[in-house]
Amino acid sequence: MTCSDFLKELTDYLDDSMDAQTRAELEDHLQWCHNCYVVCNTTKMTIEIYRDSHLYDLPDDLRSRLRTAIVAKCQGSPCAEEAPARKKSARTE
């Protein structure tokens, strides 16, 4: 297995979506290839940092303002199951 082969499989490896034999081959490569080990490890850290970052959290005040606006808009809009019936009758009239 070359480093390029390893990189192609990196996403499936990190997501644990591969058969046992391919996994064993990748882990064998990681045993002796320091570069791939570092790339694999830092890619995993990248994912974890973004996942845990709370980047773009929705602040509570904005959240409640948005929710109020959404509910008001929905109330003023044709309700989910009434909509097709109205359209249909409008067409047939």
Partner: protein, 208 residues
């Protein structure tokens, strides 16, 4: 080396909320809004990179979902269906803001080479602790902003929101191999760009 497993649990009563909302029960729909507004906002802001646009996307996506609930066939999770609507709204906003550039999820940028690791350096054991919360958010925001929209959309759905590869493909109307290819490149490009902030400086050159 451990693997990363996303966790998204679907509450058992979700379908009954959907059914009640379909019948016009606004409070049931409000409950669905409460469950997913944070996720939709995060996705919208990742795609549009603009706070006002993200706020509009949240409102428009939920309104559209409400108006089109009758078309939700319940073959996928409600959340996946909602994400599909939100992504489309967000991309529309992005196109409006950047009309000079075509923004498409189909774009397949350059070759594999754009994602080949150029710099291989170990990172500090807890790189996020090198910076304050505010600094870290700025670094992460700036870094992901540099990715093409099609890459950051796949990354946020798969790695931040924890959708499965299949759900991400479904929400974005892409094939599974296309999702995997974009995801790999997004992950590698982010890693490369974060190197300069997170690499281990104790035994290195100490440059910022």
């Amino acid at each position: 080396m451990g693997t990363i497993q996303p966790t998204v649990a679907e509450p058992a009563d979700e379908l009954s909320l959907v059914h009640a909302a379909k019948a016009g029960d606004i409070s049931a729909f409000e409950e669905l809004v409460k469950r997913y507004d944070r996720n939709v906002f995060r996705i919208a802001q990742h795609i549009t990179q603009n706070r006002e646009d993200a706020e509009d996307v949240v409102q428009d996506a939920f309104l559209k979902a409400y108006q089109n609930l009758k078309n939700f066939q319940e073959q996928s999770k409600f959340y996946t269906w909602l994400v599909r609507i939100a992504v489309n709204e967000a991309l529309m906003r992005l196109r409006r803001r950047r009309p000079e550039r075509m923004v498409s999820l189909d774009e397949d940028i350059k070759t594999e080479e754009d994602s080949m690791p150029r710099e291989v350096a170990d990172w500090s054991p807890n790189p996020e602790q090198l910076y304050s919360q505010g600094e870290l958010k700025e670094i992460l925001g700036k870094t992901i902003q540099g990715l093409p929209p099609s890459f950051r959309t796949v990354f946020v759905l798969r790695d931040v929101e924890g959708l499965s590869t299949e759900e991400t493909a479904d929400a974005l109307d892409l094939s599974v191999p296309a999702v995997k290819s974009r995801l790999l490149r997004a992950r590698l490009q982010l890693r490369e760009r974060l190197n300069k902030y997170f690499k281990n400086r104790t035994g290195g050159d100490g440059k910022k």
